[in-house]
């Protein structure tokens, strides 16, 4: 982690000055989501519901998972209407 | 500085009358304040309004305790002698709506000899001119007759500014009549400041 900055060095109003993506939260995970493209209908619900923006989807192709940031919460698997996402240990 | 205390009942328009007077004074280059007895207005309850008028900017922000002029726009309030005459300065004016003559009112309220007493049957006048018993504007005519303060025309302009159209015209007529008809019992002793 970088050294904490002083009040003269940061923007005012409590605005975040570092992108949160630099914090790799993927290692918090116990279970990881695995998408079965056979069952996936590209509805985009997993992408919409993911609280950490860790489902990567361009709107055309099958979604993939950003495992560097996915914390393994399982919301995507819970929301998937075709049960295409399985939470797998490790 | 001239200080005026208006007595009326909630809904009769003492605050409006004091506002018309203040506007007229301000429009003629004077400095003025108009404020109500601070509080929620309750219809029918005795209420007060105040004016300060001066040729210099007015810095005082407090109630008025020793007015130069007391105006009573509702005759039923005259029974409370203490409330009406309390603090009225020697040499000042008591101006009241009543069908009594000023001498009769002076005798009834035992008004001090140094006070000018003015009376006007403002209820009858208002009923005749405006069609409703709003005595606040006629009493303005009486105040101007008694104390000068601003020219009658300035009051008329201020009334027309506040009440547009026919109602304004009727009130202007009422003010003019009041100015001409208010009766005067002069002070019997002169007070030198």
């Amino acid at each position: 982690m970088s050294a904490l900055r002083g009040w003269k060095e940061i923007p005012i109003a409590g605005i975040p000055f570092e992108p949160a993506v630099k914090y790799k939260t993927g290692d918090w995970r116990v279970f990881r989501p695995v998408i079965d493209n056979e069952k996936c209908i590209k509805c985009g619900l997993c992408w919409m519901f993911c609280p950490d923006s860790s489902i990567i989807w361009d709107g055309d192709n099958f979604p993939t998972v950003d495992y560097e940031h996915c914390k393994g919460c399982g919301i995507c698997a819970h929301e998937c209407p075709t049960k295409a996402i399985e939470m797998v240990r490790g | 500085m001239l200080e005026i205390r208006w007595h009326g009942r909630g809904g009769q328009g003492v605050w409006s009358a004091s506002a018309v007077l203040a506007s007229a004074a301000i429009n003629t280059g004077k400095y003025a304040q108009s404020f109500p007895q601070f509080g929620p207005e309750r219809t029918g309850a005795p209420v007060l309004a105040f004016n300060r008028i001066d040729d210099r900017p007015i810095v005082v922000h407090s109630m008025i305790y020793e007015p130069d002029i007391v105006v009573v726009i509702d005759r039923t309030l005259l029974s409370d002698r203490e409330a009406i005459l309390g603090g009225l300065r020697p040499g000042g004016h008591l101006i009241a709506d009543t069908d009594e003559s000023p001498e009769e009112l002076r005798a009834r309220l035992q008004v001090h000899d140094s006070i000018h007493v003015w009376t006007l049957d403002a209820v009858t006048l208002a009923l005749e001119e405006v069609g409703r018993a709003f005595t606040n504007t006629p009493m303005l005519g009486a105040v101007i007759k008694a104390a000068g303060v601003v020219p009658l025309e300035a009051i008329e302009e201020s009334i027309k500014e506040r009440w547009k159209g026919e109602i304004g015209e009727k009130n202007v007529k009422a003010v003019r009549r009041a100015f001409n008809e208010v009766a005067h019992s002069p002070a019997k002793v002169e007070v030198t400041a």
Binding site: I12, A13, I15, P16, F17 | I26, S34, F35, V59, S62
Partner: protein, 412 residues
């Protein structure tokens, strides 16, 4: 002031004067909830907007908490936001007061000073805004309706100044100013519009998001930022330091804008922080806030006529507190009286008394200070009582052993 422009002399009460200031100040959004004695401000603004005389969005809300929340939302979206409240309404805004200040949203709010319940009371004292003195808002108190107009216009410039970026409360005494009609000079529309301009959100750099490009500090889909996220013990203190420093920079800005406005309008109030009256050669000084200090001027004149060397100092800007200026004024006098229109229960005197005494502590030669708490719940402060206070202060030459606080006007 030769340069001052032609103005229109109107008969307005304090609330109407504030509404006129808001009308002329290019306000984008007004969100407020009516409460006595602030109501006339909202009524007039609603009329102005309805009549096409004021180009602002008005948001009708269900509470003061929402009024300030909506103002905050508008402000962080880049709009110029105005609201107004009093007493219990301000109390209900409490949570959002701090949020507005900490997000550096330059909201301007008129606070029509009124006593807090209970018992319920609609009259003037300063307990509402004095309670909010530590919320991070700049606080400017008016003496009369004219000044309420002037202060409201200046408030937008102060709040949005790049060295400040803090919300501003403009105070006016309930009824004593809000409902008292008086002479008010109104500047031409275009003159005020030019003076306040339009809100330009300040610009910041976020190199790790947007490189060296400066982006506006506002919610903007083109340059997304987060406002108000979690801030723990790693950075919260630093953000508070920035607010502390912004307050330190504010006096210069307040004085500068006050001076600029004086050149246009011909009206000034001391240096914009303190408004002294016949204070230069005074033996005794009476300090206080709001409309009472107008009455005090008349009392000072009366005492001077009697040969008594009394002066007065009205605190116009209470936050940031003008401690340096107070030290300077007080160092030459023999005694000081401080008038507070609010109580700080359990403290050694009212808030102004405590801050004045604290400011004087570093003076080697400090005058005795007497405190007076007066006018709670609208209890009138007549000239004769002020005169009594001034005479007591004038005859005091030694600091009492314990802080001396009186309660003039209260019955025992």
């Amino acid at each position: 002031m030769a340069k001052s422009v032609q103005q229109r002399m109107m008969s307005l009460n304090g609330d109407e004067a504030v509404a006129w200031a808001a009308r002329q100040s290019n306000v984008d959004v007004v969100a407020a909830f009516p409460i006595t004695p602030q109501t006339i401000i909202m009524e007039r603004i609603a009329e102005f907007i309805h009549d096409g005389l004021m180009d602002s969005e008005i948001i009708r809300v269900e509470s003061e908490h929402s009024a300030l929340s909506a103002s905050w939302g508008a402000s962080i979206a880049g709009a110029r936001a105005f609201t107004a409240t009093a007493a219990n309404g301000l109390a209900l805004m409490w949570e959002i007061l701090y949020i507005v200040a900490s997000s550096r949203a330059p909201v301007v709010m008129a606070v029509v000073n009124r006593a807090l319940s209970a018992p319920i009371n609609i009259h003037c004292d300063h307990s509402d805004s004095m309670g909010a003195r530590d919320s991070g808002w700049i606080q400017i108190y008016s003496e009369d309706a004219q000044e309420a107009y002037d202060n409201t216009i200046q408030a937008f410039r102060i709040a949005e100044h790049e060295n400040v970026q803090l919300p501003v409360m403009v105070m006016l005494d309930g009824f004593l100013i809000s409902h008292t009609m008086q002479n008010v000079q109104i500047l031409p529309e275009d003159v005020v519009s030019d003076f306040v301009g339009y809100r330009k959100p300040s610009r910041i750099k976020l190199p790790e998001f947007y490189g060296e490009k400066e982006i506006p500090l506002m919610l903007n889909p083109k340059y997304p930022i987060s406002i108000g996220p979690l801030d723990l013990y790693d950075y919260y203190f630093e953000h508070k330091m920035q607010q502390i420093e912004a307050m330190k920079r504010a006096p210069e800005v307040i004085k500068e804008i006050h001076k600029e406005f004086a050149e246009i309008s011909g009206r000034s109030y001391g240096d914009g922080l303190l408004d002294p009256y016949r204070a230069e050669d005074a033996d005794a000084l009476i300090m206080g806030i709001g409309s009472t200090m107008g009455t005090m001027k008349a009392v000072v004149d009366e005492l001077r006529e009697e040969g008594k060397k009394v002066g007065s100092v009205r605190i116009r800007t209470f936050r940031p507190f003008p401690a340096d200026e107070i030290r300077e004024l007080a160092s030459g006098v023999s005694s000081l009286g401080v008038l507070d229109r609010s109580a700080s229960f359990g403290a050694e005197g009212g808030p102004l008394f405590m801050e004045v005494r604290s400011a004087l502590y570093s003076l080697k030669d400090r005058p005795p200070v007497l405190g007076y708490i007066y006018g709670l719940g609208g209890r009138d402060m007549p000239p004769r009582l002020l005169k009594k206070i001034a005479e007591e202060v004038l005859s005091t030459r030694e600091e009492p052993e314990r802080p001396r606080v009186g309660y003039p006007g209260a019955r025992e």
